[in-house]
């Protein structure tokens, strides 16, 4: 079976349209980030969260009013699909107290529908800021590592364009999180540690497709005249199109399974990785390689690539 056999798309000629599309995507995300902001989870915000599961269907409003009447202030949301609710409130060092408060109130006021507190998380403000910093450090360290590695294996122009593409992917996903955050009850899209894990996975994987394209360009560009670059870039991208799509496709397939089956705790992560890989595949064809092409064209330099062995 084959998809995309012998394609001949002129990616380089239409790159400006792709640039425009990317810019719109990024600007929309940025605007939403500024206006609406992000939904931070307790990992980064600090606070306490209680997941309550009921035996039978329960009404959010009723539970909310019961908890309000008991003097536990906080927000209550549907959690996942299965009669579970997530109650979040400010950080309390003694979660035992919070648990008994919630439990007593529900036992007294909602009869005939037993509940169980299946999870309690409490994150103090100092921990939250620690987590935030280590997330930022991890993200930048990995971008730097990728820049260095691709710089050594290829050339700094290729590496920079690859890292720009990663930025593009992560910022787009971040923007999507801001735009779609809180819109779906089955997927709250809160920023927490797992989303940082998703971003690092996207960063590591986004470059995978890019490297596949780069590798082919490297193989074919040796000793060619700069005037032939446009043809070589186009041919390389067309030749690798099928493998780019299929490698991403298998990952998308398994992440989609994760999104469907792995439950609400993983859903935000799966969503981030799914969209990230989708955008990453697009960007390796429409952002990374065209950027290298433009860079070479504007600086009028020829490529001196390392490590290109032709066997």
């Amino acid at each position: 079976m084959r998809i995309f056999q012998k394609t001949n798309f002129n990616f380089i000629r239409y790159r400006k349209i792709a640039y425009g599309f990317s810019v719109i995507l990024l600007v929309a995300g940025m605007v939403s980030l500024v206006v609406k902001g992000l939904n931070y989870g307790i990992d980064f915000r600090g606070g306490s969260e209680v997941v309550i599961r009921f035996e039978k269907n329960a009404d959010v409003g009723q539970i909310r009013s019961v908890l309000d009447a008991a003097g536990v202030s906080g927000t209550l949301k549907q959690y996942g699909m299965d009669r579970s609710f997530l109650f979040s409130t400010v950080f309390q060092g003694d979660t035992g107290q919070l648990k008994s408060l919630v439990s007593n109130a529900l036992n007294a006021r909602i009869q005939g529908n037993r509940h169980e507190i299946v999870r309690i998380d409490a994150v103090g403000p100092s921990v939250a800021s620690d987590l935030k910093w280590s997330a930022v450090k991890a993200l930048f360290a990995s971008l730097l590592a990728i820049l260095l590695y691709v710089g050594i294996r290829f050339e700094i122009k290729f590496a920079s364009a690859g890292v720009i593409a990663i930025f593009h992917d992560i910022l787009t996903v971040l923007g999507l999180f801001s735009i779609l955050g809180g819109l779906f009850t089955f997927m709250p899209l809160e920023m927490d540690q797992s989303i940082i894990a998703a971003f690092l996975t996207i960063a590591g994987y986004s470059i995978t497709d890019t490297v596949v394209v780069y590798d082919r360009i490297r193989e074919r560009i040796r000793g060619q005249k700069p005037s032939d670059y446009e043809r070589i870039f186009n041919e390389s991208m067309n030749q690798t199109l099928s493998r780019t799509i299929i490698t991403s496709g298998t990952v998308l397939l398994s992440v989609f399974v994760l999104f469907i089956f792995a439950g609400p705790a993983i859903r935000g992560f799966a969503f981030a990785v799914f969209t990230g890989i989708l955008i990453g595949t697009y960007s390796s064809i429409f952002v990374a390689a065209p950027l290298v092409y433009d860079w070479l064209r504007i600086t009028k330099s020829s490529v001196r690539l390392r490590g290109s062995k032709v066997s």
Binding site: E116, V127, L200, F261
Partner: protein
């Protein structure tokens, strides 16, 4: 040819090691299934007894499940370094207290190390650290180094003490580690009574024996505070402010009808002639009490520095740990005026035992002391016959018995304990020793066992479906070559699980997510190779040449993509905490394993097939 044989051997060894490492997991699983299958619990117990060694062995070496899958508690505790450094200082004066208060405020807000905050504060006040710490001849730098060492030691000691407490409480496979300079991470799988564990861990367990002041002194002191407060409230009332004062005294509330709802908190009032005696009542014998509902207010009152200035030299007012029943069932807390300097501290305690008291059903904890403590205790009790000595644990008075006679054998008793369970916990913390400084819980994550079971089910579903989806896709898209990729994929999953089991790492929900993601990524290398082989075939090369060149030429992009994924996963592991590390670990193992399975294993399969003439140019779809 030699090289080929080596590769085959390598594959065989890796497969066998993986299976061997996963064998205990399998036998643990089948044994527990067997145990469940018995009709009566008696049969299953008998089976468990006869196969005990086998079961224990399997369980010890099997793949561990993470806290989120098994249910349990994850706690992060922080050692109060400000308190620790305060303890280390000597000739503390008002200036020192003011600086340390600043330090405490700053430490809660910033991430900077406490020791750096302290040295910066002292520098800005132009005071040398040696005025309060260690030797006067030490330079600031020397003192900072010494204090750093102190805090390191305190952290290790706190960790050991917490480990002792948990071991004595009895939790299977606790994991206790330190992080940074002041954090202790505690993982307790399968804990059911979280509140009890939390209380067990939280207390400093600082035991002190302190002399009680004479009743007259206590009454005089309380009188002094009362008149000071009255003056103060009058002047503040004149200024328009109002002190929060209870509207009814403890004595008055004791005469309330039992069913009457007492006010929840002290209600503010314009002014009162007896602000203190509104919330405290004094018995004719000189014992002071406060009612439970005004306890918080009294504590805050006693902590005020202007109130503390009114106390006699080297004294402080402490509340009882447990309330006593008032005349009409009102809960009353006794207030004691005790010496600040303890006569003896808990460091001398060698043994503690929770029992029921001889005359009553009240539980109590008996303690015995080492030789140094015994002789000191004999001297102290001998010199204070007829006086009262308070037994203070973590700043609360448990009891204040009158010394009847000299105690020569180093025995003492804590009573006034609510339940036997609590007495047992006291026994544990006293045996384990006191923490060098207070600790507090700054992060806690508790997962109930039912949610853990849900997570396992969800994780297994995701694993199965993603494996099916990806392997079927490979078969459909690449035909015969897809079989090789699928075999490689199975081996890959086996390797990930066996490495986790072999290194005693545990599998968490994020870890399962990592494996699912690995399934999608592991076949990528094969896709790159197969696509390349298709290209070579399209150029009209023979199958053998196409396979060889396909592997050779795809290698550089496979390596590059794996290195980038690995480095991202590695950094995630380095900077990530807890569950995220589990994800990073499985992703790292899976990515590295796929380099081996996708390149070496599939290649050997093709070699075998080619040698038997089972491959044609149609075999790659």
């Amino acid at each position: 040819m030699k090289n080929k044989r080596f590769n085959l051997l390598l594959i065989a060894v890796v497969t066998l090691v993986a299976l061997w490492s996963l064998w205990p997991t399998w036998s643990d699983y089948s044994l527990s299934k067997q145990l469940d299958s018995f009709a009566s619990s008696q049969d299953s117990l008998k089976y468990a007894m006869s196969h005990r060694e086998e079961i224990d062995n399997a369980r010890k070496k099997s793949l561990k499940l993470g806290l989120d899958l098994k249910g349990g508690m994850h706690l992060v505790m922080e050692v109060d370094q400000v308190d620790l450094f305060e303890q280390k200082a000597w000739n503390k004066d008002g200036k020192f207290a003011a600086i340390m208060q600043n330090v405490r405020a700053k430490a809660t807000q910033s991430d900077a190390r406490v020791i750096d905050i302290i040295s910066a504060e002292f520098k800005s006040e132009n005071i040398r650290l040696s005025r309060y710490f260690y030797d006067i001849r030490n330079s600031d730098q020397e003192i900072v180094t010494k204090l750093e060492k102190e805090s390191e030691e305190a952290l290790t000691r706190a960790k050991e003490i917490i480990r002792n407490r948990i071991d004595q409480y009895g939790v299977a496979e606790p994991v206790i580690t330190t992080q940074g300079s002041r954090k202790i991470i505690i993982e307790l799988p399968g804990v059911s009574d979280e509140t009890r564990v939390r209380n067990l861990l939280k207390g400093t367990a600082k035991l002190e024996f302190r002399l009680l002041s004479e009743p007259e002194v206590t009454i005089r002191t309380l009188d002094r505070i009362n008149s000071y407060l009255a003056q103060n409230s009058q002047s503040s009332a004149a200024a328009g402010g109002a002190l929060p004062v209870s509207d009814s005294s403890a004595a008055a509330s004791a005469s309330l009808p039992p069913g009457g709802a007492p006010p929840l908190a002290p209600v503010s009032k314009q002014s009162s002639a007896k602000p203190l005696y509104d919330v405290i009542s004094v018995s004719p014998y000189g014992t002071a009490f406060t009612a439970e509902r005004s306890k918080e207010y009294v504590v805050s009152l006693l902590h005020r520095s202007d109130v503390q200035a009114l106390l006699p030299q080297d004294s402080e007012l402490l509340l009882a740990a447990k309330p006593e029943e008032g005349k009409v069932g009102e809960k009353l807390y006794a207030i004691y005026l005790v010496k600040k300097t303890p006569e003896l501290t808990g460091g001398v305690i060698t043994e503690a035992k929770a029992t029921f008291g001889s005359q009553s059903v009240q539980p109590e904890v008996m303690m015995s002391m080492n030789s140094e403590g015994t002789s000191k205790w004999a001297r102290i009790t001998g010199a204070n016959i007829g006086k009262r000595i308070a037994i203070v644990l973590d700043g609360a008075v448990y009891s204040a018995p009158v010394v009847q006679s000299k105690i020569p054998n180093g025995n003492s008793v804590i009573n006034g304990i609510g339940s036997l369970e609590e007495a047992k916990d006291l026994e544990i913390v006293l045996k384990a020793g006191a923490l060098p400084a207070p600790v507090r819980i700054i992060e806690e994550r508790t997962v109930g066992p039912s949610l853990g079971a849900d997570y396992i089910r969800a994780g297994m579903l995701s694993l199965t479906w993603s494996f099916c989806a990806v392997s079927i896709f490979m078969l459909v898209y690449y035909k015969k070559a897809g079989i090789a990729a699928d075999i490689a994929l199975v081996l890959n999953i086996l390797i990930v699980l066996s490495v986790l089991a072999g290194f005693n790492a545990s599998l968490s929900l994020p870890g399962i997510a990592g494996i699912v993601l690995t399934i999608g990524m592991a076949v990528d290398a094969n896709v790159l190779i197969y696509e390349r082989i298709r290209e070579e075939l399209a150029e009209g090369k023979s199958v053998i040449t196409a396979v060889t060149q396909g592997y050779d030429r795809a290698f550089s992009s496979i390596l590059d993509s794996h290195v980038t994924t690995l480095s991202a996963a590695f950094l995630l592991y380095t900077y990530g905490i807890g569950p995220i590390q589990g994800f990073a670990v499985t992703l790292m193992i899976g990515t590295s394993a796929s380099l081996f399975t996708a390149i070496v294993v599939t290649r050997e399969i093709f070699h075998l097939l080619l040698a038997k003439n089972l491959m044609s140019d149609k075999s790659f779809g």
